[in-house]
Amino acid sequence: MDTTVQAAPKPSTPSEYKSGLKPVWCPGCGDFGVLNALSQVYHRLEFDPMNTMLFSGIGCSSRIPGYLKGYGFNGVHGRVLPIATGAKLANPELTVIAAGGDGDGFSIGTGHFPHTCRRNVDITYIVMDNNIYGLTKGQLSPTSPGQMVTTTSSYGSIENPINPIGLAIGCGASFVARSFAGDIKHMVDVICQGIEHKGFSFIQILSPCVTFVGKDQFGIIKNQVRYLNEVEGYDPTDRSHAFQVADETGQISLGVIFQHPFPEYRHGTEIVRQRLIKRGVPEMKDLIAKFRP
């Protein structure tokens, strides 16, 4: 009997990279745009589903692994980054993408974000930021703007929102970018750059929640957008430029905000390994002899 495992044929169009499951998202949700963009990214980079793994946490956007071909992992709320880190370290050949929302990434999971940035493992982290908890039906999120009235801030939020871009740059991320669910071509370009970047790539995608924030969100964002690659003199390797973008008000800059070739985590482990090989592993009897008076 022939027991050879036959790999599924590689999809040949973006839509073939979709699993065929009907997404459980509200009509008009920004996450549909992100799903379309990701299927195009998979196609452009000719991903082999067997070597691609998409991790997520909990939230509306975290449903995305089920909608694309390849391995998916729907993890515990907020823990997507350590789970993805474990998989990438154990199998460096795997293309590892992590995805989730603002609630998953910047609330319950915030503690993991700085450490994944500074550790610089080769993962691409896509946060579909809609400024609200959508799955639990409209509670205050860590990126909800001040004064926002939600079901858990009937009084209007009295907290300052977190600044994901500023946080990522400050924590030493080597690739920080922003895109918008209303611009598929831009998302595809930015996500491809993030995946090709060696190290941790953080991509914030503004992905409006039309149900609990409002149908006007696409228009509001669109009217404030500018593209960084069209801004004269913008240097994404300059941290001070990047921090200015993180702090901007009244406009929304899209594109690669910061990129720096910090060594990837595996570079460090390889140096340690080489050092060990060079030094050699001492014999037990030599070690014991060393401690004999």
């Binding site: 319950i108 639990t136 801030s153 009084y155």
Partner: protein
Amino acid sequence: MRALITGNEAVSTAVRLARVELIAAYPITPQTSISEKLSQYCSEGTLDADFVKVESEHSAMATVIGAASTGVRTFTATSSQGLALMHELLHWSSGARLPIVMANVNRALGAPWNIWGDQSDSLAQRDTGWLQFYCESCQEVLDTTLMAFAVAERVNTPVMVMLDGFILSHTAEPVQIPEPDAVDSLLGGGPSPPALVDPENPRTLHAVTSPDHFMEFKHHQFQAAAGAEKVSVEVAEEFGKIFGRNYPGTEEFMCGDAETILVASGTAAGTVRHVVRKYREQGKKVGMMRVRMFRPYPFDEVRRIVSGAKRVAVLERAISPGSEGTMAQELRSAAYSAGGGPQVYDFVAGLGGRDIVPEDIERMLELVENGADKLQRVNWLGLKE
């Protein structure tokens, strides 16, 4: 006043009536509408409390620990994964002897993901030092939440109130809403300063404690939890006098002359009661014991109820892989500790929100009465195989 409210609204109403001063919570299905309602009360001014929508359940418990340490009445609510995330601080809050009250809307734990009801989340927390009460109706949820504050503050021990996810949390029933003055007479003027806190003599709480003293702290805690059974009964009696509704720690339903006693907790008890009634009409000697107070476990009371029966069948909405159902373990420990005791059979049903229907209970009865030789240590009801 009578109102048609859900189990979750019953919790929020009790928290408002208890004049809680600080609430910290994080959304999780099916708990979320408890905290939403409380946020609304705070914004309307019908509850004078600080409401903090924190960044995780771990932070929610940490925040109420900090607040309760200053002597104010505190509350939080969660479910499932949220309760599991709090685990470290559940031990901490009970060890610190803080009278925190929490509602846990029972929901299954992943993997795989599931948002529906079973009791594995809270039963897994049985050794954390929290007192645990399981409710069957929306009225009982409201009343138990009120009594929880009284018990917690009298024994300086945190209390968890359980309601089945969706079946109770999102089902509306007519509920008698107590008058605020009557609630004040039960709960008095708020918690007394926490154990170890002496306002005249500031000192550091919970510093590292050497083996010379650690056991004594734990012994105090252990005794307080055991003594909470008597206090809970006293509080329930006071509650009965004020409000006319009585809640024994363990409910007996037609157990007096029963040869077979079915054991249930939470909303499944309603289905069991229905079947027991039906079998009684046929002249069968069947009864039900409903576990309401699970921590402290009322060993003597349980032994008294089941000791006359020939057999006991425990209906579990949780499992302890590698062992048997949690409820059965506890019941065996109570029933056999004096030697003898009825034969105890363990049944698992309704995990992850699967309905427990009268036919399941009838099947269970049929098996223990006429097919006991075919039964295993743990028996799964309604399994698709």
